[in-house]
Symmetry: C2
Subunit: 327 residues, 2 copies
């Protein structure tokens, strides 16, 4: 018997896509394999995505304030709309809950989801509640956004010669998880793990004003998500490790606790920064405008090449892996 553990999440997704893609519908503009599906409703394009979070897999219940559980599951779902440059609109929330959980905790979780939804100027319109079999919370969030002027950015448009760039700083969220697990009082890093920021305004701007060629949000780690762009675009990507933007807090944290920073910045997931590719001739202008407009900033960290397929770090195939379910 072959189990999911043997094949991993990425192979499972490929097999499911084969099963599902048999069906066709002309109103499905972009069906599977990107951050969102794109469907045509009247003269509008809607972006749709689902994101399932499991207690003690995606969030540590005893290390998270309940509002942070709600914020994180909702913000990570909205991040998929950001990664295509869309405008957030509506969300549905399904929750499997233990019978013995306190009502107050459930209400705090919903409040966190509401805050993240208000933050992106959207609304929760429905959902489902059910009993969880074991004492673990499972939350699935479906988000729907709208493509502004029918325009959205996929993972598949990167071209050799493009600049690879990333918003904000990397590694804070995964370092925050380690700090929480080890009870190290690093509030900046904790907050990066608890309250990730979906880059909605940044994504919309990069889509409509900057015409970036490919975009993805970093949910599974820089290397894994860069690999998604490389694979879907049929190109190679080179990352200059020294150029990856790092917060002072992460730098001090790694030095103080003698931790390698590479795992956090290359492999650490749940960052929800945007990773984009930009035609070289446009890059300087886009960078200047972006950095004036958005406090998170955008940084060049590599380039797209036709010399090889897949992702390399300073020209070398990396040994660090991003997060993959079932492995």
């Amino acid at each position: 018997m072959i189990s999911l553990q043997d094949i991993g999440e990425l192979e499972l997704i490929k097999r499911v896509e084969l099963l599902v893609q048999q069906a066709q519908d002309k109103k499905v503009v972009l069906p599977l394999g990107d951050d969102c599906a794109v469907i045509k409703v009247g003269n509008k394009f809607l972006l749709i995505s689902s994101d399932m979070s499991v207690e003690d897999v995606h969030f540590l219940s005893d290390k998270f304030p309940p509002t942070a559980i709600g914020w994180k599951v909702m913000a990570s779902a909205w991040s998929d709309i950001a990664s295509m440059g869309g405008e957030p609109r509506w969300a549905l929330v399904s929750m499997a809950l233990p019978k013995r959980i306190s009502v107050q905790k459930v209400e705090r979780i919903y409040e966190g989801m509401m805050e993240a939804t208000k933050f992106v100027n959207a609304v929760i319109v429905g959902g489902d509640t059910t009993t969880s079999y074991d004492d673990k919370i499972v939350i699935d969030v479906t988000v729907i956004g709208e493509a502004i002027h029918k325009k959205y950015i996929t993972r598949s448009g990167a071209k050799p010669g493009d600049i690879l760039a990333v918003t904000g700083t990397l590694g804070n969220s995964s370092a925050g998880l380690v700090a929480l697990q080890k009870d190290l009082p690093e509030t900046f890093l904790w907050r990066s793990q608890w309250y990730p920021v979906p880059r909605i305004q940044e994504g919309k701007w990069l889509c409509t004003k900057a015409n970036v060629s490919a975009m993805i949000d970093i949910s599974d780690g820089l290397l894994t998500d860069a690999e998604h762009i490389a694979e879907m675009s049929g190109v190679g990507i080179n990352i200059h490790k020294q150029k990856i933007p790092i917060s002072e807090e992460l730098s001090i944290f790694c030095k103080e606790h003698n931790l390698s920073i590479d795992n956090f910045i290359l492999g650490g997931g749940e960052e929800y920064q945007l990773l984009v590719t930009v035609p070289q001739e446009k890059w300087k202008k886009i960078q200047n405008k972006f950095n004036k407009k958005f406090s998170c900033g955008i940084t060049e960290i590599g380039y797209v090449t036709k010399e090889w397929q897949g992702v390399r770090v300073d020209g070398v195939v990396p040994s660090i892996k991003g997060y993959e379910h079932f492995r």
Copy 2:
């Protein structure tokens, strides 16, 4: 500490609705409390609903063929589109899966979901896969349908004097669950539990041709779902128990095994038959046309009244309860 067990699912939903309804959006036509939310996209109305299923709560993994797991979770989600009279369009599927589950079983589950989706002429456009914490499968399905000519039927339109009617026969699915649990070889009843039929064509017809005043699908049992109509419409409902349509298979099963039929037909959930209220003067004509057109048939089982609030059976407040999570 007050737990979910203390307040139950219905009270939880009321509390969540209070939290969530603070936010408003003019494009949300019908936000919470019905089978689907209704949102306005351009000049179209979309119906959206999510349905979460948990292994050994919603389906018994060792008593279900894997394709039946997929069919059931998907068909029950499409039934929410049927219950508002909508046209099925797109679905997203999120699954939490144990690491040790066989790839083949997962593929069979997806095949079942595909079959139920093809059955209603819709497509799966996206979703998520993740590791489940314990060894239980959790599946959340989000379905999107379209209101034909912007028309849909809610739970809130029942008027005193209306006829209460139901499609098909009741009790088969919940009796099938008992037969499976007790290993009684009742293939008709097993199949009712495994492969419920979402009444899409029937729902569309009742919405667009029959102008029924209220509609719901029976997912939590006749009494609970009639109660939803009564509450949302601000009316009373009387059910004539002797009029409830019963299959020969269920009748024989109950006699052979000395089981009370009342729990199955009044309290048994997961029927996915449609429960409607119809203005009295229209009833005979609608019944005749429906029974000519649809093999499942439609039967008068009671009436709507202003004499009391809530649901009674032959004039008496019933002691049987439908299914409620967390209790």
